[in-house]
Amino acid sequence: MAVSRRIPADHGLNFRMFLTGLFLVLLYALLIGVLIKVGIGLGFVLVIAGGMLFVQYWFSDKIALFGMGGHVVSAEQEPELHAVVDRLCALADMKKPRVAVAEVDMPNAFATGRNPKNAVVCATRGIMRRLDEPELEAVLAHELSHVAHRDVAVMTIASFLGMVAGMITRFTLYAGMFGGFGNDNNNSQGALIELAVLVVSAIVYAVSFLLTMALSRYRELAADRSGAILIGRPSVLASALVKVTGELARIPTRDLRAAEHFNAFYFSPALSNGTSLSSLFSTHPPLQKRLDQLAKLEAEMNAS
């Protein structure tokens, strides 16, 4: 295929993403195995965690829009924004998502919705004011890639395990605190099992959290890549990233903390992280890593 000749696939990124997913699945199996072994009320936990995640997944568009104060805009209200999205969707042959604007000055954009049919792409007033047209287009191409990659579904499923493990940790902890760890002598074995469940699920919780964050960072890189290829100009996306993250650093912290919960959907996270340890816990790759990838892509397009 001519396309792959022009822009080679990034096998490294695919491999890392696959590996992360594989570890998550293995963890799932391990946790469920342990739970079945000790006979915990697995069904109960799964139903509750599943229910909560389902709500999050099904109403992801409404939750995120509500959280950010975004409102869906018509083509008459925002003709320029719609014109850009129209063209990108025709270019990528995808269904046009709803377009929303959040009336906040923080420069950011996000995409949400459980599937491409129910997707919403939202830009804040702040990002529309700060970026020029090509840069805004690049950001929207990145968000449309999230929609095409079904990232809401992927991340919801990926975080399911972490949620289950977290709930079990809390349940057994409370049960242990209030019921006492084996106050009956003849039940000391039961106490040991409870303790083991606590330890295992706490470890699973921690590891799955790290894996989910890693997966999220890979999805960001994948969206950067697809978005840059769609508009054909990686450097424009890079300049938008620099502008937005540079601007973010100058905004008072309190506003940013208030928005931290919605980081997973964002174009760039509201809190920047400098140290290498915090990069393990972040939903987005460090700016330098994203810029490096885009620079590499730009070089590939020039070379062929």
């Binding site: 129209d86 063209r87 270019l91 047209e133 095409a148 020039n302």
Partner: protein, 209 residues
């Protein structure tokens, strides 16, 4: 795009679907007969130019090719090759071609399409636009039918979908939706019309006459 590709976070750039273009001359005949509009002889191919020297070189070669072709046509050997290249405010570029005959026009647009495709850049194609103007006098002037159209209209060919839609702009960033739907009714049998009306996006200030 397959579900598997989506889950792997890989969007394959979509290649263009260019074959439906050749249905256009038949639709032009229908439009002239039922509404009294004729092709303006102008068309434009709209694409997203990617960064890098390979694409710039390809485009330069292509325009050279078009010019040599236009000067050599049998019906108008003296007519200067008219290939223009303009950028619009959304960062898309247009290659504008002219030909008196709709068949020649389609051939030239197809030449642009297939050159991009052969070079591996059909992923960058957005659409191609053909102009039509009122001009019933060209054919049988007396039968300006009841459905006669009195303003310039455009047929837009969506490269990725392989479908057409009519675009009838008014003066001030308004469009005549009623007329567009009427045109859909007239040529629906000749051309694959884009079914999703959300894809009939407006092309304000398009450089095609």
């Amino acid at each position: 795009m397959g579900l598997l590709d989506a889950l792997r976070g890989k969007t394959k750039p979509v290649k263009a679907n260019l074959d439906a273009l050749f249905a256009l001359p038949a639709a032009a005949v229908t439009l002239q007969a039922t509404a009294g509009v004729v092709p303006t002889g102008h068309a434009g191919v709209c694409f997203k130019p990617p960064a890098g020297q390979p694409f710039a070189q390809m485009q330069a070669d292509l325009e050279q090719l078009l010019r040599s072709d236009a000067s050599g046509t049998a019906d108008a050997p003296d007519k200067a090759a008219s290939v223009r290249d303009v950028s619009d405010k959304y960062g898309y570029r247009w290659i504008l071609v002219e030909a008196d005959d709709i068949d020649d026009l389609v051939t030239r647009v197809h030449m642009v399409h297939s050159s991009l495709e052969d070079a591996g850049w059909s992923t960058q194609l957005l659409c191609s636009v053909f102009g039509f103007r009122p001009g019933g006098t060209d054919g049988n002037g007396e039968t300006d039918g009841i459905e006669s159209i009195t303003r310039t209209v455009f047929l837009v060919y969506l490269a990725k979908q392989g479908t057409f839609y009519p675009f009838a702009p008014l003066d001030t960033e308004q469009r005549d939706n009623e007329l567009e739907l009427r045109i859909r009714g007239m040529i629906g049998d000749d051309l694959p019309i884009e079914k999703d009306l959300a894809r009939w996006f407006p092309l304000w200030g398009l450089p095609v006459e």
